[in-house]
């Protein structure tokens, strides 16, 4: 197992290299001169040039790239053009909300989706199945922000049950933390619920057609045991795969959700940084996201071994 993990980690190096290369040059080709932005509202051409020299933006791109990679390897992601703060610090202080939102969303999505998918597969082609799937597909079709506004309007503004916006770090107490995450996770979770519910249903349908389910039924086992143990455990691998894909997609959804609910996470940091051409921050963030994705894939792959005894590394 350990050697497998090590091999996998090495295998991700080229991917990360591609990401790094891509991000670096993408941003260098983007219009909008960071030096002009840094130099201020009424900067002269000379002061802009001075800033450019100071940031090393006047040097050849290859040299800039090498310098950047060299710093990266030392754990230095550079300094934000706007706030003059270290990129690592900017990312670190926004990590918790995004991780919390992602996990809680995943929890909501899975907690809704798996039962829906299981029931739909169990009652395949019946009314329950049609309704469950219609709900799931509609959840997917609904733009997250529209759903978010509807939820805010009722749960926060009308009934005042939950906060409208913001994020309470877990160190401010568990309940405020949970409270601040409920609406965003539900709004975002509904979208991913659809994805997971559909794959759960499909996977369960396939499993339910298998001989060993017939065996389990021929033993007169209770329905819940057949569905939840015999079937679901077998259906788990594709479901977990999709959950993994879901985490990657979630990051995109997180950007919008963080904006609507005003959660100070990585998503908003990225959008702001891209729109303001804060190169060092964008570079750092995209690397972090890519790294996270690689990590998630690894965890998913390892989890297969726990779900299916036939898989060994």
């Amino acid at each position: 197992m350990t050697s497998y993990i090590v091999r996998r980690l090495f295998a991700t190096l080229p991917v990360m290299a591609v990401v790094a290369l891509f991000v670096f040059f993408l941003l260098r080709f983007a219009p909008g001169d960071p030096a002009a932005i840094i130099a201020g509202d009424d900067a002269t051409a000379e002061s802009i040039a001075a800033v450019r020299v100071k940031l090393g933006l006047d040097r050849p791109m290859v040299e800039q790239f090498v310098v950047w990679v060299g710093q990266l390897l030392q754990g230095d992601m550079g300094v934000s053009i706007f706030s003059n703060l270290a990129v690592t610090r900017l990312i670190a202080q926004r990590l918790e909300p995004t991780v919390a939102l992602t996990l809680s969303t995943l929890f909501v999505a899975v907690a809704l989706a798996v039962p829906i998918g299981v029931v739909a597969a169990w009652k395949a082609r019946k009314l329950v199945d049609r309704l469950a799937m219609a709900f799931a597909v509609l959840g997917f079709a609904m733009p997250t922000f529209v759903l978010a506004y509807i939820l805010i309007y009722f749960f926060a503004v009308q009934w005042q049950l939950l906060p409208v916006q913001g994020y309470a770090p877990i160190k401010q107490g568990f309940w405020p933390f949970v409270e601040s995450l409920i609406l965003p996770s539900v709004a975002l979770g509904i979208t991913y619920m659809a994805l997971i519910a559909r794959i759960t249903r499909a996977s369960m349908l396939e499993v339910l057609a298998q001989d060993y389910i017939r065996t389990a039924n021929s033993k007169g086992l209770a329905t819940d045991r057949v569905l939840l143990l015999h079937a679901l455990k077998n259906a788990a691998v594709p479901i977990v795969t999709v959950i993994g894909i879901g985490i990657a997609l979630l990051i995109s959804g997180v950007v919008i959700t963080e904006t609507v609910f005003n959660i100070p996470g990585l998503g908003r940091l990225t959008v702001d940084a891209v729109l303001k051409r804060d190169y060092p921050v964008v570079q750092g963030l995209i690397l972090v996201f890519a790294g996270a994705k690689v990590l998630v894939n690894l965890i998913i792959d390892i989890s297969y071994a726990f779900l299916d005894p036939r898989i060994r590394y």
Binding site: D42, I170, G173, P264
Partner: protein, 526 residues
Amino acid sequence: MFRRILAGALALAVPFAAADVQAQEKVLKAVMHADVRVIDPVWTTQTIANIHGALIYDTLFGNDGNQKPQPQMVGKYEISPDRLTYTFTLRDGLKFHDGSPVTTKDVIASLKRWGAKDGVGQRLMGFVTKMEPVDDKTFTMVLREPYGMVLESLGKSQSSIAAIMREKDALTDPQQQVKEAVGSGPYMFAKDQWVPGSKAVYLKNKDYVPRTEAPSSFAGAKIPGVDRIELVWISDPQTTMSALINGEIDFYEQPTNDFLPLLEKARGVKLMKTGKIDSTQGMIRLNHLHPPFDNVKARQAMYYLINQEDFLRTIVGDPKFYRVCKGLLTCGGPYENDGGSELMKEYNPKKALQLLKEAGYKGEPITVLSATDHATITPATQVLVQAMREAGINVDAQSMDWGSVVTRRAKKEPPAQGGWNIFVTTSGGVGSSNPVLHTWIGAACDKGLFGWPCDPEVEKLRNAFGMAATEEERKKIAKELQTRAMEQVVFLPFGQWDTPIAFRGDKIDNVVPNTGLAVLWGITKK
């Protein structure tokens, strides 16, 4: 499995639940119009940086609610009879947040840096021949001519305040931002708790010695009212409104006008009209460098496309909060006048096009920088573009976020090479009420603001205004200036409007109307 996860979650939760102890601290949560991204108020003209700066830095003078300069850091001062030599003595008890005393060295360095960067400061420094310390607490400022706006400039609240920093910070190149935000003001910046894009935190400066006079805008006693101010950034106005109604924030600086009826109805929420002249003025800026607007006839033709009611109704809606103003100086302000107003007598797109053609316009595309994410500038631009299209002008509306407009508008190249012809912006009414402080009215050619209007006559009148000794003289010059600037079309005004402050009346007290800049330090929590 689930049991194990649950147990884990609880184990995590328990120690944290106990950590909720800071509840006794009095915290003001305020949502301003923008996020604090730059901590150097001198380096940038952003209003939010100025709000930030006004919390942590002190100024030599502060303009009061009537825009009269009153001493703030200065204890006593003397002006020589020829109005050329100013002697300032700092009052006692001034200390920076790091504990070091404020000395005249700090002050002079700070004024020099400010004078190199800020427009008003540059003008002031243009008259200053030398600044010299007498001792640690006293210094002199010697002028070349009897410039009349010295104290007003030092006490101004809009664009960059004349913030007094430590000497070592003030020696930073004005083109670069200062690295540390250490001032001597009523609040201290908690840089370690700053999350750019989300919130900026200020802690009460317990060592601050306020003045004894009653507070009035930027003048008088600055008494820190709470232990902690959090400037929370919420980009979505509706979310901000809901958060205020839900009691999650205490103060909302600029609620969208359409929300006012909802806020008025909400329990606990109070609205406060901003100060008399603290309105927002809408401006359409033409680029004087490139055709067709390098021709004054073409610029004047644009007046026929401005129906202020259309703009104001679109931006603001309720007539209670807006006002038609066909002048360049704030209507309601001391220098309001009708000089040049007759240029804006009618909306007539046909005539506009006809005049443009007479001025040599041949149907080439006019590049309009169209901001997509600004509460007022975005709709105003849409109204303008529609009017231009109605006239039959070939409009090339280029959409971008406001930040990009800010970058793009600095480009002097022709529109086809990344420049522009028109952009829309706004200006604070307090600054716009004074011809010297109102930098957009200037016409200093290359040295002026984007659009680069170039007219020696306008500049001459602005200088004359600064030199004027009496109020009558000033009023007279203001009218001449506005007439000339309107003829030159330094910008096209499309009206002015008020944005009330919204806050939780049930939770906070001592909110004062704005005079150019939100005053937060005095707010107390119930």
